[in-house]
């Protein structure tokens, strides 16, 4: 079971990264409007 001493802290690091990514996305306004970007991606034009 001693593998837990490595795996659990590793998992915490990954959770930390996920939380950090979430904070970054919320701060940069990616969560403000959840509808328009879904529509905008349909316009794949080159202009």
């Amino acid at each position: 079971m001693s593998v837990l001493y490595i795996v659990v802290p590793l998992a915490m690091v990954i959770v930390g990264a996920a939380v950090f990514a979430f904070i970054w996305s919320a701060k940069s306004g990616q969560m403000d409007d959840l509808e328009t970007p879904a529509v905008r991606m349909l316009h794949d034009d080159t202009q």
Binding site: M1, V8, A11, M12, D32, D33, E35, T36, R40, L42
Partner: protein, 831 residues
């Protein structure tokens, strides 16, 4: 005498005439008169043709590849949006950065689908100088950035309007920035609390199963330290809000829900930390992490539900006219309504609203003052007569000398009354809030007693049991009980076209009380429609052919009422249409001279002698309903038909009112319209003799509601500015479909679909919601009593607590979700 020729570019025309030809731009049917077989593409109106031309010219034809059907044609508008360039406008709405880039937010009308996003965001390609245009489709709001030196905002606004998205300034930029910041902070807190709660619970799972099956001592210690390490950030960031809340409550010496929460969190953390370090006893961390997460979610739901409805109301608010055309030595130009001063002369076209109170100095027209007075029939005005801001000029252009503008206009004074009534409205103490104080006191006392008694008995677990009690009784489920039930109800109601701004309205609507209804626009449709027709059926198509291009409200009534005759109407040859202000229309149709209009106008022959009436009509005409507006039709000097037009009672009104009365509501109709009209409508809908009150001014309405409030709960339903003060004063104000902005912004609830059946649904839904809330609170209190008893007896081990807490929250979530409030099954049982 004002004349105009037909067919005009009136955008209403396409609503009437069916046909196979579809408009290239909006895909709605093109009126027969507009089809030009010489052209490759057909358009229903000038607006659509212009929009197409702009797109085509800039190579943006791709719009039509993914354009979904527009709900309305592009309205041709001569507005130049000059007021958008005015310094007063810039000061309020425009922010200019250091690099000379100006930025503003605009509400756009008519935004609805993917193609709108595409088109609005291509504006930089159409108007050079625009740096960026970005649309938020849910809020119908566009952020526009442009080079202030290269292009003016009015040019951008005019382009947006000609593409079919008339822009309006967004009044809440500063408030919105604060809101966005709050929302982001809340979201981050929930995200972090959630991530931590899940991981602490995973560790707890390992610990509990280790306890049952035996686990290595060092591994147990490891997991306890991991939990401890995880819980600290949960306290430092998301959990901090409860401590600041509790601190504020302490300083104001009030019992707030945050107080026991903060106490439980603090005591639990300290005891857990000590137990972790000394390596014995319970650690509580899983319960604490879950607590923080669930409480934050409860708060978020509560906030969001209320904002959604407020956003929708804000949009309607922005649609009010904000500019006026001023006539001076340099000509006519648009300025913001805020910059108007007494003494200025306004040019008000037919179909526009007055921006200030004043005296007519040129022209005659009819005015619809329903917004201010509730009077459904238009009133005619001539020179030296008064007109008021907010009322609608119907027939002909007028020049108006401004007497009162802005703050001192009659409508502004009315609005101040509205704001005052809204301020005076006593804050409603919600059920959960009432209980919070009692709850806090009971929990703190129970914890103190537990500790004291056990300490006296020299029990080793005195402190642990008291802490366990604090944590297990933490109002997790209780905090979720009300907001969840209300969020579910508000969300479902919104889907049914009922927007509810606050949960307290639901509480107040859950039991029957006095229901005061406005007449015009609420009980009735608020628009003119064809009620009766006497005479030759063949004349109908002639009437329609003439009325198609008129902007008069009666013409609107004919167009709606005679839709079936569209094909026939398009075959008539109409020439020399004359629009006689205050009289009616005259024209030559298929070679015959036709007059349509007021009995006086039609009965007055060109030679001065009386016009003969077809004998069979005579009796029927005298029996016509006098509450309606009569219209006569003459062909070649003989009256051949008569119609009556008026404000029809909504189709579902009788049924809905009966259902409300059956549920125990006392219904009263209160209107600004003449008593005879109100009596006629009241009698047909089963109002008791004294319960249909007419000729009530906005001030009377307010006084009536204030008086009624002394006898009990009052719910006011209305649609106009004339109801706004009464709506704000009532315990619950309800605005109905098509209502004025003033009424909507003060109403607690508004119905976005026409008809009164929304009221029936609202009251029964409110009743169901309160039942769900009571059940939720009952459940959560039950759990708390069990948990607290176990803790006081010292029987509560951490495993039981860990099971009990989420179960209580889960029960509440499921109870709210499967509650019957505003659900489809419930609606079926209603109908």
């Amino acid at each position: 005498m004002i004349t105009e020729t037909l067919p005009s570019s009136d955008t209403d025309a396409e609503r009437v005439l069916g046909g196979e030809v579809r408009c290239t731009h909006c895909t709605l049917p093109v009126p027969a008169g507009f089809v030009d077989s010489a052209r490759e593409r057909q358009f229903c109106c000038n607006g659509c043709a212009t929009a197409f031309a702009i797109l085509h010219q800039h190579g943006l034809d791709r719009y039509y590849e993914f354009a979904q059907k527009r709900e309305a044609p592009v309205r041709a508008s001569a507005r130049r949006y000059e007021e958008f360039d005015h310094p007063a406008f810039a000061e309020r709405y425009v922010v200019v950065s250091d690099r000379g880039v100006a930025r503003t937010e605009l509400y756009l009308e008519g935004v609805h689908c993917a193609s709108c996003v595409w088109l609005v965001e291509r504006v930089p390609l159409i108007v050079s100088g625009v740096v960026r245009a970005e649309l938020d489709i849910r809020r119908s709001r566009a952020v526009v950035e442009w080079d202030a030196l290269a292009v003016s905002l009015s040019a951008i606004a005019a382009t947006l309007a000609s593409l079919g998205y008339p822009p309006h300034p967004f009044r809440g930029v500063a408030r919105n920035a604060i809101r966005t910041r709050e929302d982001r902070a809340m979201l981050m807190r929930i995200g972090i609390a959630g991530a931590i709660a899940i991981n602490v619970m995973l560790a707890a799972l390992a610990l509990y199963s280790g306890e049952l099956n035996g686990m290595d001592g060092s591994l147990t210690r490891f997991f306890r330290w991991i939990s401890f390490g995880l819980i600290i950030p949960a306290f430092v960031w998301p959990g901090r809000v409860f401590f600041t809340g509790a601190w504020a409550a302490l300083r104001t010496r009030s019992l707030h829900m945050d107080l026991p929460i903060a106490l439980a969190l603090a005591v639990g953390l300290i005891r857990g930390a000590i137990n972790t370090i000394i390596d014995s006893g319970p650690i509580y961390f899983d319960g604490l992490a879950l607590l923080i997460f669930a409480l934050l979610v409860g708060r978020f739901l509560q906030q969001r539900g209320q904002r959604m409805a407020a956003d929708a109301a804000e949009l309607l608010h922005a649609l009010a006219p904000v500019s006026a055309r001023v006539v001076d030595a340099q000509g006519i130009h648009e300025i913001p309504a805020d910059a108007l001063l007494p003494g200025m002369v306004l040019d008000v076209r037919a179909g526009e609203s007055f921006a200030a109170d004043g005296i007519v100095i040129e022209g005659t027209s009819t005015v619809n003052a329903a917004l201010l007075t509730g009077e459904s029939r238009p009133v005619s005005v001539g020179t030296s007569e008064h007109v008021f801001a907010g009322t609608h000029n119907i027939e002909a252009p007028l020049r108006v000398l401004v007497e009162q503008a802005g703050e001192t206009s009659r409508i502004a004074k009315l609005m101040q009354q509205v704001a005052e009534s809204a301020r005076r409205r006593a804050p409603v103490v919600q059920m959960a809030n009432r209980m919070a104080g009692i709850f806090v006191a009971v929990v703190l006392t129970a914890a103190a007693i537990t500790w004291l008694v056990k300490w006296r008995m020299h029990s080793a677990h005195a402190l642990d049991d008291a802490i366990a009690l604090l944590i297990v009784t933490c109002p997790c489920a209780l905090a979720l009980a009300t907001p969840l039930a209300i969020t579910v109800a508000v969300g479902r109601a919104a889907g049914r076209g009922i927007l509810i701004k606050g949960g307290d309205a639901l509480e107040l609507l859950s039991t029957p009380a006095t229901l005061v209804l406005d007449k015009t626009g609420t009980v009735t449709e608020g628009t003119t429609s064809l009620v009766s027709w006497i005479g030759d059926e063949r004349v109908k198509s002639v009437v329609l052919a003439l009325e198609v291009g008129s902007s008069h409200p009666l013409a609107d009534g004919f167009r709606r009422g005679l839709v079936d005759y569209a094909d026939e109407a398009s075959r008539h040859v109409v020439r020399d249409v004359k629009h006689v202000a205050g009289g009616g229309l005259e024209a030559t149709v298929d070679g015959a001279f036709v007059r349509i209009g007021s009995p006086r106008f039609v009965s007055r022959a060109t030679e001065g002698s009386a016009v003969p009436i077809v004998p069979a009509l005579q009796d029927a005409m005298s029996a016509m309903d006098r509450t309606l507006t009569p219209v006569y039709v003459s062909i070649d000097g003989q009256i051949v038909a008569a119609a009556s037009l008026g404000d029809r009672v909504r189709a579902d009104a009788a049924e809905s009112l009966a259902a409300l009365r059956a549920a125990g509501w006392k219904t009263i109709m209160l209107s600004g319209d003449a008593q005879e009209v109100v009596d006629a409508v009241g009698a047909s809908l089963g109002f008791a003799a004294g319960d249909a009150i007419g000729a009530a001014s906005p001030e009377d309405k307010l006084a009536f509601v204030e008086r009624a409030k002394l006898r009990g709960r009052v719910v006011m339903v209305g649609d106009g500015v004339n109801d706004a003060a009464a709506i704000a004063a009532a315990h619950v104000g309800i605005g109905v479909h098509g209502g004025a902005e003033a009424c909507l912004s003060t109403a607690d609830v508004y119905l976005t679909r026409p008809g009164l059946d929304g009221l029936v649904e609202l009251t029964s839904g409110a009743h169901d919601t309160m039942r769900v809330i009571r059940r939720n609170i009952g459940f959560s209190i039950g759990y708390n009593v069990i948990g607290a008893s176990l803790a006081m007896l010292g029987l509560l081990n951490p495993l039981i607590a860990a099971v009990l807490m989420p179960t209580s929250s889960l029960t509440v979530v499921l109870g709210s979700w499967y509650g019957r409030s505003f659900s489809r099954a419930r609606l079926r049982s209603l109908s």
